[in-house]
């Protein structure tokens, strides 16, 4: 562009700028493939008292011929797909828009609308997915507590801990959300008139600084929690009762 120089090449960076987007793409694609397979499989998701997070809340709908996971997963999926952090991650790693800073993007000069047009303008309703994912989160907490009750009464198994860790990480992911940060207090200009909302905003802002970390940890935990229950159902492993 401006300088008619070597800057017109893909980049003048000589560090390993391509590593992070590559790893991100591989991890996200692996998660996508795993969760699609599990969501459609409609088996091996319940080993009392543990229910896979992909199938929570447990829906028995006779009118629905497909996997019940499909009735649920649009909410957390939409939540993650419109999440400000994941947007950065996939715009960089899948759309190469751009893959890394000061690196030529994939789209040709001027051939870019950002989030001004369909489909990406939909990102603006992220907060509605936040509400929907909140409902699912509520049921995941119910499941975690349910995992404390075995056939012979109260107990704690490795699965119980897995479900609690997972729902904790998912809650941190939700509560560090940028939209939540805005709704809880960020939209105010005069904090001093609403001290409670200011304090909440400060708290959420603190969590929000690590939103990317919560995003990754909760992505892994939800897949691993499901995998744990899948392996239990398949009889590959047995659950260890701690109490």
């Amino acid at each position: 562009m401006a300088n008619g120089s070597a800057q017109n090449s893909i980049t003048l960076r000589n560090d390993t700028w391509w590593v992070l987007p590559l790893i991100t793409a591989i991890v996200l694609a692996t998660f996508g493939a795993y969760s699609t397979w599990r969501a459609f499989s409609n088996v091996d998701f319940l080993v009392q008292p543990y229910l896979s997070p992909f199938y929570s809340p447990y829906i028995l709908a006779s009118w629905w011929p497909f996997s019940p996971a499909l009735l649920i997963l649009w909410a957390p999926l939409g939540f993650r797909a419109t999440c400000y952090y994941y947007r950065k991650a996939y715009y960089r790693s899948f759309f190469l828009a751009p893959a890394a800073c000061a690196v030529q993007p994939m789209a040709k000069e001027g051939n870019y609308d950002g989030e001004t047009k369909f489909p990406f303008i939909i990102q603006n309703i992220h907060r509605y997915f936040f509400y929907a994912a909140g409902v699912v989160l509520f049921f995941l907490w119910v499941d975690a507590f349910h995992a404390l009750w075995f056939e012979d009464g109260f107990g704690i198994g490795v699965g119980t801990i897995v479900l609690f860790v997972n729902v904790f990480l998912l809650s941190m992911y939700s509560m560090s959300c940028h939209s939540f940060r805005h709704l809880i207090g960020g939209r105010l200009d005069v904090f001093s008139k609403c001290p409670t909302r200011f304090r909440l905003w400060e708290k959420v802002s603190g969590w929000n600084e690590n939103h990317a970390l919560w995003a990754w940890l909760s992505l892994f935990s939800v897949a691993l929690a499901d995998l744990y229950i899948f392996l239990l159902a398949k009889g590959v492993i047995t659950d260890l009762r701690i109490i």
Partner: protein, 243 residues
């Protein structure tokens, strides 16, 4: 004493090329020192803009090994000196000579932002909590590294559609001001083009003042635009409250 090889871009609007210079490396030396060494010992007519050499005036911006940086804040020992270090002018703005570019577009755009507006009966007492958020944005030294790295301007040349990250923090500073009564949301969505930003965060990555441009300015602004244009619930709530 070790020697660094610098490949500095020499040229103007008509064209140019890299010229290699060898510079002895002293302890604590920054890239700007190396450029001054070149000026003093090889080419006195090498053009470079600088003023403070303290990372506070924002005039020495360039692209070092392909990354937008302040030359006075980039130590040579932070770079891999086994390879030549490339020093180029900012890519996003028209070159004048060597490392000097014409950044006047930024000042023109800035004039389009409606200034601070206050109510007739303003009580000028303000609480620290209410102005704190804007104070982060006032750290900006107008080095325009963020404007340079932003792919919307850098690679898609959307200078007529998007004001760029530096202007977003200026708008955020005004919009979040407790006493400002101007509404810039329509401008944000239309003329300033906040929707073009895909929050890939390169602006934040390069800002020498470590301003959280994306998390604290652009995303909150996108959320404010969503309140007004994409959220029917907020719209109803505002009507009920009579806003």
């Amino acid at each position: 004493m070790s020697v660094a090889k610098l490949r500095i871009y020499r040229g103007d609007a008509e064209g140019g090329q890299e010229v290699e210079y060898e510079v002895p490396v002293d302890e604590g030396m920054v890239v700007l020192d190396a450029i001054h060494f070149v000026q003093a010992n090889y080419d006195g007519d090498l053009a470079v803009r600088w003023n403070c050499k303290a990372a506070k005036c924002g005039s020495c911006s360039a692209e070092i090994n392909g990354m937008p940086k302040l030359t006075c804040k980039t130590r040579l020992d932070s770079l891999p000196l086994d390879k030549p270090v490339t020093v180029y002018p900012l890519k996003t703005f028209p070159i004048m000579k060597d490392l000097v570019t014409d950044v006047s577009w930024n000042y023109e755009v800035r004039k389009k932002i409606p200034p601070f507006k206050y109510a007739e009966d303003t009580d000028w007492k303000m609480q620290q909590v209410d102005v704190e958020r804007s104070q982060e944005f006032r750290k900006c030294i107008e080095c325009f590294l963020c404007q340079d790295v932003c792919h919307v301007l850098r690679n898609h040349n959307k200078k007529n559609e998007f004001f760029g990250p530096r202007m977003m923090i200026k708008i955020a500073e005004l919009e979040m001001h407790p006493l400002d009564i101007e509404d810039r949301k329509e401008m944000l969505r239309e003329a300033a083009g906040v929707g073009y930003c895909n929050i890939t965060k390169c602006c934040t990555d390069v800002c020498p003042e470590e301003i959280h441009i994306t998390d604290n300015a652009i995303i909150p602004l996108k959320e404010r635009v969503a309140d007004t244009y994409f959220d029917p619930l907020q719209w109803i709530l505002n009507k009920v409250k009579g806003n």
